[in-house]
Subunit: 305 residues, 2 copies
């Protein structure tokens, strides 16, 4: 099979491309803004460029893809406030251009890395796919709009479109240099480099953490969908607090860590976790790695870097 | 007072700017893509340019505005399918840039021309502000995203943001040369120029028609809002079918009109009308001109052009 996987120099994109490379032809586009070329798995054709560049995407029109898996994008809510126009271009324009590429080159499947951020804050904080969408950052608005685009492309042009609402993905391979994206990786990176953690916001905030290998598996399982538009949570159903993450890090590292709490970032959600029964039932996906196990694995990897 | 009204060379923008000009300082930006410079009301400062141009919007940072009324935009669902990237830039990027301008220049009020298209198709077809949003065109997705932006800007930066979900606005001054936007004006323009009406879609489709002067009045009333984000339907609560519009046109014109029905356009809603009780209660706005009266007024104007 032939796949276009965008963002394969990044954490999630690389993991998905790696699963597909070998027995398939895999092409990736990445602008290396936060990703690194060395992350692109072996055997994957690498095109350096922006997924929001109309000329580049148009130039792929005579290629044939069995599926487009769109993972590239600006993925920090915080940065979306600093540069909303850049966010809009990478996160919306890219989806429109790639959906249009799918239509033009006869590709019948489109899978998209959406986010739990589309939900915003809810009480109770456990979200299922039919929870109202109240996005709190521009980043999350862009993901919401991209989901609408997919629904429309599916209705109008018959492309099987799947949005995966990723909760917090963490694990080996995560970018330890980007301090604006990825809660567990940010705290761990600070602890390793400075023996200090500066937490932006409350220690009682909580998230639902999914180990990278299992997140990649959700993309592979979504390839089985043949028609229509649908959306699935990729989550574990378990809430992990900021405090608990920090306790694991402190416990695993052989020195003292100084923890300081400062003001939160705009548009940050307080607490959220998800219901994964839909993806379990319809795609046979189930999380098995508990957070402490995964986090200790990641810490051991990060210490050796 | 000092106002920035975008799109005052267009139908609705001109009507709103006219209401404000005279006793206030009014500035407008319009790229004249569908608007005409002669529509800009007397006494209004005209800046020719795109509301999606970051350089232009940034250049206004040292101006002072008491309110920004954002009406400019690509307003055809049909064109949004032909050029989704252009649509995205005019309809999303402009809102982000102008909200950011409001924040930087200390403007406390932002009013936005949203659309009934954000609702999509519903059964029953009468929509109130809490009806689910299932946009069917890229144009409508952009308007939905812009509403989210306003909610976030209001929450984060304390700007009073008001989205007016305009139903079908019609009347004297409507662009009779644009055959891709404005149901009543399209049919009337075809009838006047060729004695023929080519209807794209079913005669049983229906819309809720609001006379231009009353729509402009809704913007003026929205200026009274001092805080928070809110959204209001601007509608009459009455459904008018395509067939009824055509009957009025046929009855008013002194020659035979040949009517032909062809395939609909992508993302076209079948039928919708709205509940205006929220805007009546909270802003004291009420529609009074019935469709036949308004349409005959418009036909008399259009015949003399």
């Amino acid at each position: 099979m032939r796949y276009l996987v965008t963002g394969a120099a990044g954490f999630i994109g690389a993991a998905v491309a790696k699963r597909l490379a070998g027995e398939n032809e895999v092409v990736t586009i990445d602008n290396l803004s936060t990703g690194k070329e060395e992350n692109v798995p072996e055997g994957v054709e690498f095109i350096k460029g922006s997924v929001a560049d109309p000329g580049l995407i148009h130039s792929l029109s005579d290629r044939k893809f069995d599926a487009i898996i769109h993972i590239a994008g600006q993925s920090s809510g915080e940065i979306s406030f600093e540069d909303p126009v850049y966010d809009l271009q990478t996160n919306y324009q890219s989806t429109v251009l790639l959906l249009d590429l799918a239509r033009r080159c006869g590709c019948r499947k489109f899978i998209y890395a959406s986010t739990m951020s589309v939900y915003g804050d809810h009480n109770p904080p456990c979200c299922s796919e039919d929870t109202d969408l109240v996005p709190k950052s521009f980043y999350a608005v862009g993901k919401t709009a991209s989901e609408h685009y997919m629904r429309i492309y599916s209705d109008q042009f018959g492309i099987a479109c799947t949005a995966l609402r990723l909760f917090n993905i963490y694990g080996i391979g995560q970018n330890m240099d980007n301090l604006k994206q990825g809660m567990a990786s940010i705290y761990l990176a600070m602890a390793l480099s400075d023996h200090k953690i500066n937490v932006k916001g409350s220690k009682d905030r909580f998230r639902d953490f999914v180990y990278i290998d299992e997140a990649a598996d959700a993309f592979i399982k979504a390839l089985s969908r043949e028609s229509g538009y649908d959306v699935f949570n990729v989550c574990t159903g378990k809430a992990t607090t900021v405090e608990h993450i920090i306790d694991i890090i402190k416990d695993a590292l052989p020195y003292d860590i100084d923890v300081k709490y400062t003001e939160g970032t705009p548009g940050d959600q307080f607490g959220i976790y998800g219901d994964y029964s839909k993806i379990a039932k319809e795609l046979g996906w189930k999380p098995e790695i508990d957070f402490e196990t995964g986090m200790r694995r990641m810490i051991a990897w990060a210490e050796k870097r």
